[in-house]
């Protein structure tokens, strides 16, 4: 072979560094399976005598595209690896949001007839954010309402994790995709095989959801809560377990009886614990697992502390008293800290310290390995330890201090990733808030600076409600389409924990 031809051959090959066809194929397979979920709202629609074709059509379109992409993937020569994983995960979540939005767009529901509104609502559903552009939830069809709740439930434990659990065979080990989807810096494996771990997590998630549904159905059936219909019980359970926040009522959970609110609060608190720990506690019957875990202990302590601060101020300001104040404080603190976003009162009108505490809690989040959003407690813990080490090393430069978590030394690489995450998270939050504030000025939406901050934090952290018109009883509807797109992307980036999406923006990712 002549040197020129050799050079041509070499030059012709090395353009794209990743197996694009393979990645698209795998994404297609995920979508195709995911599209089966549209059968559930279809059945509900038939049951309630509502139009069911929007769901069938959405399922068919998504399934068709999925199968098409799968065929494309068959042409891929190589195997899909570590690098392609990021693209698959990011793309799957983006397209899943589009899929979730399709039924809204196809139905003749006027509140969700704009493409951007449908996309926002779909993304808010799968990412368990719970921010809504709907202004009158009560006016939605039952089937549409259930689809909103169901999308949160499906997204809660992760659609990739679900795919890993149910797909017969993926052409990839899956560990890295699993890691980039499951919240938290490190994956706590429950079984030798990722697939078994994924299965166990999902089984536990399903079991806990069923327990919650049963508890709420019981409360409704025996008349402890006259307002709680079976539909409300199932619907709210489907958004409590994934820490989502979509409610079946305009006033979130406000209309329901205290006992219902207590049950939901307890399950929110529970779902904020690392699911691997819950598995050890409930399935392996190791009651000390949670007590021994540093993150779980700190989670409990912060939850308690936040509740006490809010409680003290509520009592001091004469807003509530006694058991009412305890319930308000605990419910609202849990709801915001876990990133659920339910409300049992319009807490925006609460005194300053409480509102500040609420916004602060949004940045803390609950435990890694739970469906919560935001930064997560374990990262705060690690950052605090990194800072403490820096301070000590300022005085003793030669001191070697491994950073420990539950007694185990954490790798420096993981620590760097944690720091990078926190810095990027804050950076994205600031950029998001700035974009929202500027766009509000341009498009004449009355948005205060704290409202912009809260909207950016609420969507990036997958919490849901912000302040102002986007508050817990309000809606994101007044935002411009551009702002809605920004926030939908914030939810997406936030759900996948920033890094997997941002890698796609580097040139090095696509090159050889």
């Amino acid at each position: 072979m002549s040197p020129e031809r050799a050079a041509a051959r070499i030059g012709g090959r090395a353009r794209v560094g990743i197996d694009l066809a393979g990645a698209l194929g795998l994404t297609g397979t995920m979508l195709a399976y995911l599209s089966l979920s549209s059968l559930i709202p279809t059945a509900v629609a038939i049951g309630y005598g509502e139009p069911f074709w929007p769901f069938l059509a959405a399922g068919a379109i998504t399934g068709g595209i999925g199968l098409g992409l799968t065929r494309l993937g068959r042409r891929s020569p190589g195997s899909i690896g570590f690098r392609e994983g990021y693209l698959v995960v990011s793309l799957t979540w983006l397209l899943a949001a589009v899929y979730a939005g399709l039924p809204y767009l196809l139905s003749d529901e006027r509140q969700l007839s704009q493409p951007m509104d449908a996309f926002f609502e779909g993304m808010s559903g799968f990412t368990t954010t719970g921010a809504t552009v709907v202004t009158d939830v009560d006016a939605l069809d039952r089937s549409i309402l259930l689809w909103r709740q169901l999308s949160q439930w499906l997204g809660g434990m992760g659609i990739i994790v679900l795919a890993l659990a149910v797909l017969p065979r993926l052409r990839i080990g899956g560990r890295q995709m699993f890691e980039s989807e499951l919240p938290g810096p490190e994956v706590n494996q429950l079984a030798e095989r990722i697939r078994d771990t994924a299965r166990r997590l999902w089984m536990l998630y399903i079991a806990l959801t069923l327990v919650l549904i049963a508890a709420l159905l019981f409360v409704g059936a025996v008349g402890l809560d006259d307002r709680l219909t079976p539909f409300d019980a199932i619907g709210n359970a489907l958004s409590t377990m994934p820490l989502g926040g979509f409610a079946t009522d305009n006033r979130s959970l406000e209309p329901f009886a205290p006992v219902t609110q207590w049950i939901v609060a307890a399950f929110m608190a529970l779902a904020g614990v690392n699911f691997a720990l819950l598995y050890r506690t409930f399935v392996r019957r190791d009651p000390t697992a949670i007590r021994r875990d540093e993150e779980a202990r700190l989670y409990g302590a912060l939850l308690l502390l936040g509740s006490i601060v809010v409680f003290a101020e509520l009592v001091h300001a004469d807003l509530f008293s006694g058991g009412e104040a305890v319930r308000q404080a605990f419910f609202q603190t849990t709801s915001l800290m876990t990133g659920t976003g339910f409300a049992i009162t319009d807490y925006v009108s609460w005194p300053t310290l409480s509102v500040m505490a609420m916004i602060g809690l949004m940045f803390i989040g609950a435990s890694a390995g739970s469906p919560t959003g935001s930064v997560k407690i374990v990262r705060h813990l690690l950052v605090a330890r990194i800072l403490r080490r820096e301070l000590r090393q300022t005085i003793h430069p030669e001191l070697v201090m491994p950073i420990r978590l539950n007694g185990q030394a954490v790798e420096e690489r993981t620590l760097r990733a944690v720091l990078a995450f926190v810095v990027l998270y804050i950076g994205i939050f600031i950029v998001g808030a700035a974009l929202l504030a500027i766009d509000a000025r341009v498009s004449n939406v009355s948005l205060g600076i704290t409202d912009a901050v809260a909207a950016s934090a609420g969507t990036l952290g997958n919490v849901g409600p912000g302040l102002g018109f986007a508050g817990p009883m309000g809606s994101y509807e007044p935002f411009s389409d551009f702002s809605k797109l920004v926030m939908a992307l914030l939810m997406w980036v936030g759900r996948l924990e920033v890094l997997p999406v941002l890698v796609l923006l580097t040139r090095g990712y696509w090159r050889v």
């Binding site: 003793h396 030669e398 070697v400």
Partner: protein
């Protein structure tokens, strides 16, 4: 007794030296240069072969051996040799030397099929910890599950006049203890009530642990509890020392020049402060106030570097220095330059192993005064002629009963006490008398 020793390095040679007189020894090693000096000096059989080979084990006559000792410096060889030996001689007592503390744990749990496991690192660490616990103590041995300690003290200037400089019958000897031996110059005597302890002497004391601590305080007044010890070198030995000291509640700082190793040690020992530094950097030593440490242990692998670091630390004000010596010859160099205590890992390991070679009833043997004296831990037989006698009536034959263990409890007998059958007796005796004492009891 027929004894087979695999490995003729420092540990093996020391064992041969201690045991060759009374036992039939066969030594296996791959290196002829190590075997030859032993063969010329002692009446033993040497085999030049790999101890981990089945043929060598068989050729040595393992099937008829009573005791099999695998003491090469390599764990894997020792493990293989021991497993072959177990197959050849199921009844033999098997002793393994290991550098891995994990194997010691395995052995304690009964998962390693050997009768006794010794780790050089652990024994060294214990020896160091003992000297730090009692700065004036030269050597400490523990008997009866820690209820009895035998400690050799050096009498410094300024020791408490309650015990030093007056006749023993008038001295206020701490309760539950007695002076077993007095060493002046090169002569060792078993002191009576009219003898006097003087500065510069060495004494051997037996007593309860608290009595031993009281002795330490009497002989080294002004030296309280040790709270800050700096360990130089984070190798296997250094890490074991740091671990043992921190287990005793002593605050430890460790200095290790290799970053990966420093990190490893820091991960294993959360309660230690680990520094990544050479230890011979005067700036660092000044900045971290190493001179303020109450004691420093030098466990750097190269003796020359170790020696330099020890001297530098002394220059910076460390008052008490302990050096781990890898080459026996360097002991003198260390001592000449003022290092307070030297510990030879191979020496302490050999000592542990030799303890095991004695009478099966003998549970522990400490080698004192360069093997001339021994401490025996023997259970008295009902047939013994001493049973029923009061201690004051026992004829002294170059042996002294320091303590007895009755029903699991240690007693430090008065002269009116009566010896009973089944008592465990801790006896201090001349080496030549060991067989006699064992027979009599």
């Amino acid at each position: 007794m027929k004894i087979i020793v695999v490995g003729a390095g420092q540990v093996g040679s020391t064992i041969v030296e201690a045991l060759h007189g009374e036992h039939d020894l066969t030594v296996i090693d791959t290196v002829r240069e190590r075997l030859e000096p032993l063969a010329y000096r002692y009446d033993i059989v040497t085999i030049e072969a790999n101890g981990a080979s089945r043929r060598a084990i068989q050729q040595a006559g393992t099937s008829g051996a009573d005791l099999f000792i695998a003491c090469t410096s390599r764990d894997e060889v020792n493990l293989v040799a021991c497993s072959f030996a177990r197959a050849e001689a199921p009844r033999a007592t098997i002793v393994i030397r290991t550098s891995n503390v994990e194997y010691i744990d395995l052995w304690r749990e009964g998962r390693l099929d050997v009768d006794f496991a010794v780790s050089s690192e652990l024994e060294t660490a214990r020896a160091v910890a003992r000297s730090i616990g009692m700065p004036s103590a030269r050597q400490t041995d523990v008997f009866a599950d820690g209820q009895v300690e035998i400690v050799e003290f050096e009498i410094p200037a300024g020791a408490d006049p309650a015990v030093v400089g007056r006749r023993l019958r008038e001295a206020r000897i701490p309760e539950d203890s007695r002076v077993l031996a007095q060493i002046r110059g090169s002569s060792l005597t078993l002191p009576g009530g009219d003898d006097t302890i003087a500065e510069g002497d060495r004494i051997v004391v037996i007593g309860s642990p608290s009595a031993a601590r009281t002795w330490g305080a009497l002989l080294a007044p002004g030296q309280g509890r040790v709270e800050d010890v700096v360990v130089f070198g984070g190798g296997q030995v250094g890490a074991a020392i740091a671990r043992t000291l921190s287990e005793q509640g002593i605050g430890v700082r460790l200095i290790e020049p290799r970053l990966d190793r420093a990190r490893e040690v820091a991960e294993q020992l959360p309660e230690c402060r680990v520094y990544n530094a050479t230890g011979i950097d005067a700036d660092f030593i000044e900045r971290e106030r190493i001179g303020r440490a109450q004691a420093a242990v030098f466990a750097i692998r190269e003796d020359a570097m170790n020696h330099y670091a020890a001297t530098l630390a002394r220059v910076h004000g460390v008052r008490f220095t302990i050096a781990v010596v890898h080459d026996t010859i360097s002991t003198e160099v260390y001592e000449l330059s003022g290092v307070d205590v030297t510990v030879n890992p191979r020496g302490v390991t050999a000592e542990e192993i030799v303890r095991f070679a004695h009478d099966p009833r003998t549970q522990q043997v400490a080698m004192l005064e360069g093997n001339r004296y021994e401490v025996l831990d023997i259970t008295t037989q009902p047939t013994s002629e001493y049973v029923g006698l009061r201690f004051r009536d026992m004829p002294i034959r170059g042996a002294l009963i320091g303590a007895i263990v009755r029903d699991g409890k240690a007693l430090f007998p008065h002269s009116d006490e009566v010896l009973q059958a089944g008592d465990r007796v801790i006896v201090f005796t001349e080496r030549s008398r060991v067989p006699d004492v064992e027979k009599v009891l």
